[in-house]
């Protein structure tokens, strides 16, 4: 077990030793850094290949189908076949497109996506760089894709693309806020902004059992940030064709696709790190636990995609501002109060968990009552309209 646990670190140290034997100290360090960066990018691309295949298989099984099964045994080379198709496709730029912006958008969307991997702890001592403002880094880089999506939508000279970009800005800006507040709750509990520190703070109990409300808010906001169902209305196939990247083809489209799935893995990894205890769990090696938890989160996100229909744009905005933000704020207040009042320990955990459950219950009750009231009002309005119609018909 110990060998497995330290497998990757040992490999890294072996390679380091190899370079140390004939290179000066600084050069060996440089080579190791470049290798690390390459490794993170490769992890991203491998994750994309694996999760496109997984997504298609999961959605097929939910629909009682087989899914991809032609390319290789059980269709495992389907993702590679798709990648080859993407790479060899014709690259089209619309005549009226804003050329440089059109070119820059896919590059700008993939850079922050890959950069985010730098702070993701994949296992014990396996993190790109352990900065003490990792959470701020994540929130800040998470805002850059909004810009590139807007650039893509604007530069394409296509009304559907622009509409998708507008929706993107409305949605992502709205959901940044509850997400940041949920992150803040975790930071408050952990007492550190470093992702490694946050994982370390969950050694006794994962934060999902301390603040389930923050977890729910972060999870839902994360779905919205990823443009996954039920918040996929900015790339709604049936409404605005594909959203902001409608005019892109070939490699540029592949970049958007890559960025989407790299972000997908990143979001699942962040949920694992922040709420599910990261790589900590007994018996199995730490990096394996990280993978298992992340894939479980990814499965849940895919499962939700296969189940829930898309929501309307007004519902999307009102859900962010009228449900998630108040819950996140109330939760932050509650957790801050409890964390100040009680010493770290079982009592604090139980108090935070109990108050969070009560908070979720109250929120769901209020939301249910609001939706019932809305239905009632719609029914009354309909009845009134029918009455008016008959009254006018009689008077004629």
């Amino acid at each position: 077990m110990q060998i497995l646990e330290n497998l990757w670190i040992d490999i890294a140290q072996w390679i380091r030793g190899l370079f140390d034997s004939f290179l000066p100290q600084w050069a060996a360090q440089l080579v190791m850094d470049v290798l690390g960066i390459l490794l993170l990018i490769v992890i991203g691309i491998v994750a994309v290949l694996a999760f496109t295949y997984m997504e298609r298989k999961v959605i097929a099984r939910v629909g009682d189908r087989i899914g991809p099964n032609r390319a290789g045994p059980l269709g495992i080379f389907q993702a590679i076949a798709d990648a080859i198709k993407m790479l060899t496709k014709e690259d089209v730029t619309p005549t009226n497109a804003d050329r440089w912006m059109f070119l820059a958008a896919p590059i700008l969307i993939i850079i922050p996506a890959v950069l985010l991997y730098a702070v993701l702890p994949f296992g014990r001592g396996m993190v790109g760089v352990d900065v003490n403002i990792a959470v701020v880094f994540v929130v800040a880089l998470g805002a850059i894709p909004i810009l590139s999506m807007l650039m893509a939508g604007w530069a394409s000279d296509n009304k559907y693309a622009l509409l998708g970009a507008f929706r993107t800005v409305a949605q992502l800006l709205s959901y940044e806020i509850p997400m940041a507040i949920a992150l803040l709750t975790v930071v408050l509990l952990a007492g550190t902004m470093s992702t490694v520190g946050i994982v370390g703070a969950q050694s006794s109990i994962p934060f999902i059992l301390v603040t389930p409300a923050a977890f729910l808010v972060y999870f839902l906001a994360g779905l919205a940030e990823l443009n996954r169902t039920p918040f996929d209305l900015l790339e709604a196939d049936s409404e605005i064709v594909a959203g902001y990247f409608i005019e892109y083809s070939g490699m540029k489209f592949a970049m958007f696709f890559l960025a989407e799935f790299i972000n997908f893995f990143m979001m699942a990894g962040m949920i694992t790190t922040l709420f599910l205890g990261g790589w900590q769990w007994p018996i199995l090696p730490s990096w394996l636990w990280f993978l298992i938890k992340t894939i479980a989160v990814i499965f849940v996100i895919m499962w939700i995609r296969d189940t829930v229909p898309r929501i309307r744009i007004d519902q999307m905005l009102s859900f962010a501002w009228k449900a998630l933000v108040p819950v996140a704020l109330a939760n932050l207040f509650l957790v801050a109060f409890i964390a100040k009042l009680l010493e770290p320990g079982w009592l604090r955990t139980v108090a935070a968990f109990g108050s969070n459950i009560v908070l979720i219950g109250i929120a769901l009750l209020l939301l249910g009552r609001a939706s019932r009231r809305r239905k009632e009002r719609a029914r009354e309005a309909g009845e009134a309209a029918v009455k008016r119609y008959y009254a006018s018909a009689e008077s004629d």
Binding site: V58, R61, V62, D64, W303, I304, D306, T307, V308, L367
Partner: protein
Amino acid sequence: MYGEGILKGLWVTLKHMVGTFVKDIKKFPRRYARGGILERTEYDLYGIFTCQYPEERYEMFPRFRGALMQLRNAETGEPNCTACGACERACPHGVISLEVEGKGKERVLKAYRYNLARCVFCRLCVESCRFDAIEMSHEYELSRYSNDFILEMDDLLALGDKYDVHKTGEAWGVSE
């Protein structure tokens, strides 16, 4: 409670997903082996029911109306057709055209052409035939690479041999 419907929906999709795996494991080798399509066409709420078309085919139901075929006499092996032309007259689209020589008892069939492109598979020709000479086969892969949709007598007889039918209505389980 708000959000209850979503949880119910998630439960349904999970059941379907797990159901496909449970079914596959329960009938592991049979379900995807040769003839596994029969296992999968059984009515059941769960489990994969995809027919992998080029490798697997559904068995057509007995009364399926595919391309026309010419039948042979069971004893002599000669075609039952007497060149009477009833099917040609019955056909609403001029699909069937006969070339005949001689009159009365001497009447001999020269050519029997069946134009697949115009056939609507109504079976009126079979209804009109009094000599058990033709029947609808179960052939449904009728597309062609070129414009040769006219089947000659030999092609139709080959179809009849393939299905090994000697009386009209036999393939349908009907004795007229």
